[in-house]
Symmetry: C2
Subunit: 407 residues, 2 copies
């Protein structure tokens, strides 16, 4: 058999199932549905084994057969290493969940899991001949795509709410992105960016409006499963804004099952949102197949990445959660802040507010009996708490003179 | 042969060569010299091969035979993964150094290379029965030691200059450290912390005043050499504050040579400081064996980690640089800021100011002909630029209304 670097075969519309050509740039299907990448899994199975993957360099590119980038030469890398899967022993004891784990995405380039989508999305865009991209962001995605675009030599346009974490402005601007702030939400930024790229003939790289960001995000699940010795955890808890990560996780788990690389029941997927912006949770609770937009004027949470009043991925997220036997729940800002402090003090791990929201959800689901003591639960910490400086400061500490003496 | 987890045998004074017991807590030698850990390298050679190391999990603990922690159970881990060694192709072309690489330490826990020293230092302290530690810091070391102390259940006391990066205050305080700010420099913080731990009977964990931080830092060189296929680069460029990293790098290279795991000429080591605080550079230039303290009132640089007016490691740093055929130079703050922006724009890599200082030094050494076009040069980026938000902000970007239209 020939060695296959990528087993990408085509794209399928996630709504109407129309097949699309993966060898040219694509955005949405004509029906408005997001496209999903499909692979020749027989070719993957014939090309590589789990043992061979284990011997490759510790980066998300070790799963290249299941990624869309066609050759090693086309990879765009900033050091997207395998992220740690850490036991939370002290909190696990407190919660009665001795097998509690956090998948800590903080070490990725630009400090968040957005680097996964950007690495794969930018590399694929570049190899398809795209030279300029545009997108809205709540901060971290813009930072990641700007950095990878700089690495690949692509032009980029980013539109971000004024309320997004301030450091991400610098990351975009210093990386050479054309940066605009909008006095509104990511939905407003999305409209402005979409309109601009159309006028300019640039490529729209917004969440699920191009098919490859989700492919990068799915490597979260590939890593978790490999780190557990190619075994499935019982539950994966994911802080859900646009929801691409959850869609990617579900997609990866399906591909692994079809490959025969895992067996047993699929993990239950939990979508966590903030009480101040919870369109997915509301739709889940009401049994709806899609989510109604959260009223713009009411959307607010300290977990800024969750301030997504509507997402084009709503049906995919709801479907993935329900098919897995999972659930969706919203948590409050006060609980998020308290959990952030508790996790650092007890475990030495600084979560971002979104990751802290997921851990709050675990606390509540355990108290409600939805999680069992024997279950292995993986919480996604989607980025570095260091980027949310304003949520951590100021700190009240005594100021000493240089000649001070402490008891 | 028996399997050796750690081949630690004893401690040697780096000044008077007196041998010390490594099985009990130790600070400085009676002569005032820092102690260095020594290993039974024959036992290492008999226990493990480079090929076996390559099959271990991608974390600094893969080098455990050459680290002081006595068993896998005593390891304290927050996900200290192998950090990326990235080509800087665009800048390398510009500078005429096509083999230019950056070792990017940003992905480490707490966002800096200080995690290496803290991981090993805290784990060793805990297994020696120490329950409370104290130290001065310019920010990142305090953040790292606080987090690892929290993970290990140790109490910690941290004294930091008011001018240290503000985020590091939150990292220490939220991790449960007893935090004090001092209206002075790290030398003042050092005196206050030293005095406090003596009064309390706590353990002093300041730079080189305990012997194991340098052991953690030496893994930078172990990783670089392994990532290069167990080959030595020509030059390693290191931003030098307290200098522990450079001492650790030199020590690791010597151990590797003695093991027979590398051969050929040792890399030339370059110590980079800021023009506003350059005691090591001044001593190097004058041929002195030790450095005179930089006048406190004059010590100032945007690369805050380099604001170290005097270090107990001065002789070790100067000796390592000279024996390697290396050099020492100071660079200006304006050049540092410009290099930070240039590297992100051209390479997609956000350096911290200290890492940018090292890259400025490469630019100057190449221009001066000290570096040759054929040489492989590794620049240490010692931490995440995200922690130095104040050096990157504010950003001047247009603010749009939600109904705005972009051309």
């Amino acid at each position: 058999m020939g060695a296959v670097y990528s087993a990408l075969s085509h794209l399928d519309c996630s709504r109407c199932a129309t097949r699309h050509d993966a060898s040219v740039p694509q955005n949405l299907c004509g029906c408005g549905g997001p496209l999903l990448a499909r692979y020749d899994l027989d070719a993957v199975r014939a090309t590589v084994t789990r043992e061979e993957i284990a011997r490759r360099a510790p980066s998300l590119w070790r799963y290249h057969e299941l990624l869309p980038v066609s050759s090693a030469d086309a990879v765009v890398a900033l050091g997207e290493s395998i992220t740690p899967l850490l036991p939370l022993r002290s909190l696990g004891r407190e919660l009665g969940l001795p097998r509690l784990l956090v998948k800590d995405e903080a070490p990725l380039p630009t400090g968040s899991f957005k680097a996964r989508g950007a690495a794969v999305g930018v590399a694929r865009a570049a190899e398809l001949g795209i030279t300029a991209i545009g997108m809205p962001t709540n901060g971290n995605a813009g930072a990641a795509w700007s950095a990878y675009a700089a690495r690949a030599g692509l032009r980029s346009l980013v539109v971000m709410p004024t309320a997004a974490p301030e450091i991400t402005r610098a990351e975009c601007a210093l990386a050479g992105a054309e940066l605009y702030l909008v006095d509104g939400l990511i939905s407003d930024a999305g409209r402005i960016a979409r309109d601009a790229v159309r006028r300019r003939g640039w490529f729209e790289a917004a969440t699920l409006r191009e098919p490859y960001r989700v492919e990068g995000k799915k490597t979260m699940a590939l890593e978790i499963v490999e780190q557990l010795g190619w075994r499935l955890p019982d539950v994966i808890v994911y802080p859900t804004g646009g929801g691409v990560g959850l869609i990617g996780i579900a997609k990866a788990l399906e591909e692994l099952a079809e490959l025969g690389w895992v067996d047993g029941p699929m993990p239950r997927l939990v979508a966590v949102q903030a009480a101040g912006c919870a369109p997915i949770v509301r739709a889940f609770s009401s049994g709806a197949a899609q989510a109604q937009p959260w009223p713009d004027g009411e959307a607010h949470t300290v977990a800024f990445g969750l301030t997504v009043p509507s997402t084009i991925g709503d049906r995919l997220v709801l479907d993935a959660v329900r098919r897995s036997g999972g659930t969706a729940l919203a948590v409050g800002d006060d609980a998020i802040a308290a959990e952030q402090g508790r996790c650092l003090r007890r475990e030495g791990v600084l979560l971002c507010p979104e990751g802290a929201a997921a851990l709050v959800a675990v606390r509540e689901l355990r108290a409600a009996g939805w999680l069992d003591a024997a279950e292995q639960v993986v919480v996604l910490n989607t980025g570095s708490g260091l980027k949310y400086q304003h949520t951590l400061l100021p700190v009240d500490a005594p100021v000493l003179t240089p000649d001070a003496v402490l008891e």
